[in-house]
């Protein structure tokens, strides 16, 4: 087992990517993920891989399209405004069935907002900020170890399903130092062949075309059906989640990423004060582990969704728990509630649920 290193989340991402076989990185600086291009600028060349600081996020995502279309494991990293600029490109990548990995280090929005931690880009990543019916697999790490592990997993899933995988994280996890086990050198990995890649025919008896244009409605419809079928497979096979203290739980908190960390502290506090609270943490935000959540959510008195947003994952929780009391607590703009503040909210929410005063629909923000 490799030694522990005290690493920044952004640093862990770089090692995770390179160790996960990343062959090309294209990115543009933006706080709070600047360490990613900075480290990649020397780490990639060290292993003979391509690094280029693109002139913009739009160029980045389109360079990825090219590199990925040519059969390479390609990645970019950005934060909220930069990710928004990639929406057309992401939709193209999804449409052209290309694998790629995108690191989204969320910061405060909307607009220029600020550089403080946030989780307000959930909808963008999970529901699809670009046009058309497509999905990204979305992974949500919660500590430095997962910041290291997820890029590799992301590349594997991306190649397996030929689609974009987003590692959705935030300014805290990106800039926080924490121990993680990271080998010194990239481990041996196996990368699947990509017979579809447009890398020059090299004697192949047919040309490969990377494309998302299907002019005939029937053909585009079939293409969409194929994508939807793939998404259905992923929903069946790739849901991942994590729980803490749920076995005897009477109340549940659902949170991901940094929120789950705060929630974990808060539920421990709550338990000290006598309330049996458990934590449900989706690790894949898409596919969302609805059934696993329902299994627990249906036997507790209520569920509090905690996010650094105005209530986005909330909708997926509500969809997973129709008719069950679901409460919400959120903070926006980079404000992080302390565990004790959240603990108070847990008590209030639990009380409302116990008293039956938690409206089962009042939080619908549609």
């Amino acid at each position: 087992m490799p030694d522990l290193r005290l690493v920044k989340g952004n640093e862990a991402i770089c090692y995770g990517a390179v160790h996960g076989g990343c062959e090309a990185f294209f990115g543009y600086p933006i706080t709070p993920q600047n360490e990613v291009p900075e480290i990649m600028s020397w780490l990639m060349p060290k292993y003979g891989r391509a690094f280029l600081q693109a002139e913009s996020e739009i160029a980045s995502i389109n360079m990825i399209y090219g590199a990925s279309g040519a059969g390479k494991r390609a990645m970019s990293s950005s934060s909220s405004p930069g990710i928004s600029l990639m929406m057309e490109g992401i939709s193209y990548i999804a449409g052209a069935e290309l694998p790629c990995v995108l690191i989204s280090v969320q910061r405060g929005g909307p607009g220029l907002g600020n550089i403080a931690p946030s989780q307000s880009d959930y909808f963008q990543a999970v529901k699809g900020g670009g046009h058309g019916d497509y999905n990204n697999i979305v992974l949500a790490p919660w500590n430095a170890q997962e910041m290291y592990d997820h890029p590799r997993i992301a590349f594997e899933l991306a190649d397996k399903y030929r689609m974009p995988v987003i590692v959705l994280t935030d300014a805290v996890l990106g800039s926080m130092l924490e121990p993680a086990r990271i080998p010194d050198e990239p481990p041996e990995i196996e990368v699947p062949g990509k017979p579809w890649a447009a890398c020059g025919r090299g004697g192949r008896d047919h040309k490969n075309v990377i494309n998302s244009l299907y002019l005939e409605p029937e053909v585009l419809s079939d293409h969409n059906d194929k994508l939807q079928a793939r998404y259905a497979t992923i929903r069946e096979q790739e849901k991942k989640w994590d729980t803490r203290l749920v076995d005897d739980a009477e109340f549940l908190v659902a949170a991901y990423g940094i929120s789950a960390r705060i929630a974990f502290s808060a539920i421990k506090m709550a338990r000290e004060r006598g309330l049996k609270v458990g934590l449900f943490r989706p690790v894949t935000l898409w596919p969302f582990p609805s059934e696993a959540l329902a299994e627990i959510g249906n036997r507790v008195n209520g569920t509090l969704v905690f996010e650094l947003s105005g209530g986005q994952m909330l909708e997926d929780v509500r969809l997973a728990l129709p008719g069950r009391p679901v409460e919400f607590f959120g903070k926006m703009g980079g404000v992080l509630p302390s565990p004790s503040e959240l603990c108070e909210e847990i008590f209030k929410a639990a009380e409302r649920c116990n008293a039956g005063s938690s409206s089962r629909t009042n939080q619908v923000r549609v």
């Binding site: 280029l52 739009i58 389109n62 090219g66 057309e88 020059g200 244009l213």
Partner: protein, 264 residues
Amino acid sequence: MPEVQAEQIKCVFDRPRALADRPHHYCPGCSHGIFHRLVAEMIDEFGLFDKTIAIVPVGCSVLAFNYFECDVMEASHGRAPAVATGIKRTLPDRFVFTYQGDGDLASIGMSETIHTAARGEKVTIFFVNNGIYGMTGGQMAPTTLEGQKSTTSPAGRDIALTGPPIDMCTLLSSLPGVAYLARIPLTSPKNLNTARKYMRKAVRAQIEGLGFALVEALCACPVQWGMDPKQAIKHIDENVTKVYPPGEYVDRVSGNGKDKAKAS
């Protein structure tokens, strides 16, 4: 001993191998078809068939992946140079070219065009300047001539409101990353031969690792110009070339290694 001679039929002109044997979707007299063939000839001539990756744009030539027989990627509107960069950076020994229209390259894709040129990216761009948005129905392009009617300049392009047409060759020629830059109208067999000469250098600029190369073809879009194909060709020779002088703008490929940076 007198030589015995016999007569044989020799093919002097036919479709290049890299050009698919199928009908184009272009309008009658559209220059895209000619330029496609010239590009395909280059692939044949340089023996690049198996190591070429073409990037086709969004524009009338959006379906060009059906016509080039090499591997192809379809880029989003304007971003072909970034796509080319992504490929070339990971497969530096391949021949990577983009084929782009003027809306694609000079309007929405301006940033990618300039930056790819500025980086001296070793890619080749075949640029179809027909001064109009063909595909979407004849709207004004940045390259539309002064006074030219289009569906978004129905009274003719008013340069007081839109600025004068953008001359991409001149604009790019100041960038040191550019190894080759030339412009030619596709208006006669003679010009096609000049085009071939330029295109050869644009291919060599990449193969020899010299830098970014672009050949701009002044093309006809008879339909959106409201002209018949012959008129359109004449219009290019008489009017378009005045605004966009043909010639070599940058040449770091030719033997002497010096730039020849003057339009003829």
